[in-house]
Symmetry: none
Subunit: 415 residues, 2 copies
């Protein structure tokens, strides 16, 4: 089954909002094993919507629209679709009662324009909206299934995930299951070269590489009649991807480096503190993005000037004078200093030039030292990031998380 989505809303074309509905629906269709080939956004304009519908019905078996179901003048999706597919709009009384009750509940008067939200294509299945006024609906015409969903994400998501997906599950048959292999330490092109043959010869499961935020990801996806069969297809391929990539694989089905760190430190009962200069709190923020981080994370210090590095972390003035604040020696003393001050098993020290400026001695922007103290032993990694201030800071935090993971798991540090 081939599906496509049409979002109706001038506010998306103006850049006022992002089309997040498309993501939610795509993910759901993917789970159901329905292929999504196109997403289109069109304004609140009946002629252009009609034109887009004409294109879509020729190439897809399922069209899902979002938006344009509200009570105002520019909400035209229902009328335009009904006309395009030769359907009459008829009053759906249970929906009208529901809308009336909704207004009673919030204590506001129902204006007359709200009635049009209860005018639905004849013979459609109504998709109840318990999160707002306009219901969704779905019908079949000329061999095409057409589903209309409300636009506001907090209505669209639950209506789709409940009534919408239940309808589609009955149509689709079969399941799709994916596993995500997380990689840090090699680039996308190297990863692809290593997996090239495997990708070429895999059709079910498929093997697809992605790169995002300085990490890489391989998604392995299988289609089958049941979840069990899909898992059986997946198992050997996931293992093969992990084997071929080796030591840079840091997890399967974990969301990111910070979650992997949280999982491992919690399991191993190790405590952590971090001292940051150029990353300015980003590493601490990313660690505490994970709910429950307080189990292993004692806290951090952002030491943005030399006097605080000396005072709070006990970095030696002599070290700063002799090697400067951006040096392997300073990173080492920061890592050791925070672990001692906060009484933790592991300590991180990050110091560098995030940019736009580098050092007065000619050290380029993007030069960053990351020290890790691990129960008595300290090691330092140096990176040179070409990705600008924000990118360099992000990358340094990635490397610090990778070093924490390697320390906690007893894997070799890449220095």
């Amino acid at each position: 089954m081939k599906a496509e989505m049409i979002a109706v809303g001038t506010e998306i074309l103006l850049g006022d909002i992002v089309n997040t509905d498309a993501q939610v629906i795509s993910m759901g269709l993917n789970e159901l094993g329905i292929d999504v080939y196109y997403q289109t956004v069109v304004g609140d304009n009946p002629e252009r919507l009609k034109e887009v519908l004409d294109i879509a019905r020729k190439r897809s078996d399922l069209i899902i629209t979002t938006g344009g179901l509200g009570p105002t003048l520019d909400d035209l999706t229902r009328e335009t679709i009904a006309e395009a597919f030769g359907k009459k709009l008829v009053l759906h009384k249970p929906t009208l009662r529901r809308i009336t009750a909704f207004f009673e509940q919030i204590g506001r008067e129902m204006t007359q324009n709200n009635v049009k939200q209860a005018m639905l294509p004849s013979d459609c299945k109504v998709l109840a909206n318990d999160w707002g006024t306009a219901p969704g609906c779905v019908f079949e015409a000329d061999g095409v299934h057409v589903m209309m969903l409300p636009g506001p994400p907090r209505e669209c998501t639950p209506v789709f995930r409940t009534a919408g997906m239940a309808y589609l599950a009955r149509l689709a048959g079969g399941v799709i299951v994916s596993h995500h292999i997380r990689i840090f330490g090699i680039g996308e092109s190297t990863m692809e070269e290593k997996l090239h043959d495997l990708m070429e010869r895999s059709s079910n499961p498929t093997v697809a590489p992605y790169a995002k935020d300085g990490e890489c990801l391989v998604r392995v996806t299988a289609k089958a009649d049941t979840k069990e069969e899909a898992e059986q297809l997946l198992e050997p391929v996931v293992r093969q991807v992990c084997d071929q990539l080796g030591d840079v694989v840091y997890g399967v089905d974990v969301p990111d480096l910070a979650h992997a760190v949280a999982k491992v430190l919690t399991e191993k009962g190790l405590s952590l503190s971090v001292a940051e200069s150029c990353t300015g709190g980003l590493l601490s923020k990313r660690i505490t993005d994970v709910p429950g981080a307080s189990v292993f994370y004692k806290g951090g210090a952002c030491t943005y000037c030399n006097e605080i590095k000396v005072k709070v972390l006990g970095v030696k003035q002599e070290t700063l004078d002799r090697y400067t604040a951006v040096s392997s020696q300073t990173a080492r003393e920061m890592a050791e200093g925070i672990a001692k001050a906060y009484g933790t098993d592991l300590g991180i020290g990050i110091t560098g030039y995030a940019g736009p400026d580098g050092g007065e001695d000619g050290t380029p922007a993007g030069t960053i030292y990351i020290g890790i103290y691990d129960r008595g032993r300290t090691q330092v990694r140096c990176i040179l990031s070409p990705r600008g201030r924000e990118g360099a800071r992000w990358e340094a935090a990635n490397h610090a998380l990778d070093m924490i993971l390697r320390a906690a798991e007893g894997r070799k540090q890449l220095l």
Copy 2:
């Protein structure tokens, strides 16, 4: 001029990522006065991309594509577009040198597949990418302008906002000038009510309100033949917006609260430190997002457990026992403690329940106290954020920045 966007990327159709590039480009085109009628997403599939291009070239004067310019097998945008518009791909030597230098700088070997990123349509204008490897480009064929941009948002945004928009501004004729009025402390609907009449009667300049990340923004945009004429049109309207909104306006043409804080503290010669519990380093990170923050920012402490609050900030054990860590009293002692420990004019203390859990005493998730120490005086603001863990942390940081701004400017604190 009618424009449309085509995003090329199976990862969008699978719901792995949201098409945020479309928003960035739509906003830019809107600023330039170029109408956007369609956005389409298509997978990494040459036949379907070709089909989408055929539809687009018939109905639009400008096609902007994002994605599919990378080095891997499934990056097919360049080849497919060149073929569709009868262009040859030729090696662009300066681009190849740039890519080679990029790999040298990061100390990784350049694999052969990277070369194809330097193969560009003949007679195109290259849009330099200083944020990654694949450049953008733009050409005209059969009366249609076709612009290709890299997909990763942190490359797409700067390439489009610099080289891309400069090219389009020349096509569009005339100039467009905008001013951005930044607001913190009222919601979007209140702001719209206050500006409703002004928005209704303004056509040039236009007055457009936006809400994002817990802040509000009014963009005032004028079209004219010259920059001077545009500025003359803008001046009285910007003044009127500021007058009508009053005390909640914190700046004009500053990027965000953190930049406003950096500007004011630098000008006034005031120093700052921050102590964070539930925000976990986010505030420190946002302050140090601004280049040059080291002039006023001494550093911060993330005190993620009680023992560190006592040890590093000197919060009294008695205070924690009596009022708990999430209390006005603790926020106050954290603010005073960090200012003393780091020797700064201003100090911030943030403590709260970011969620998903609230306090054991029934205090709801999203309850956050923010204390500010300002040269001898301490005040505390309490917020209750309904926006979930990430949203609550972001909102708390916003409030802290607003309190710093108000302290530095001698404006009244809203408590």
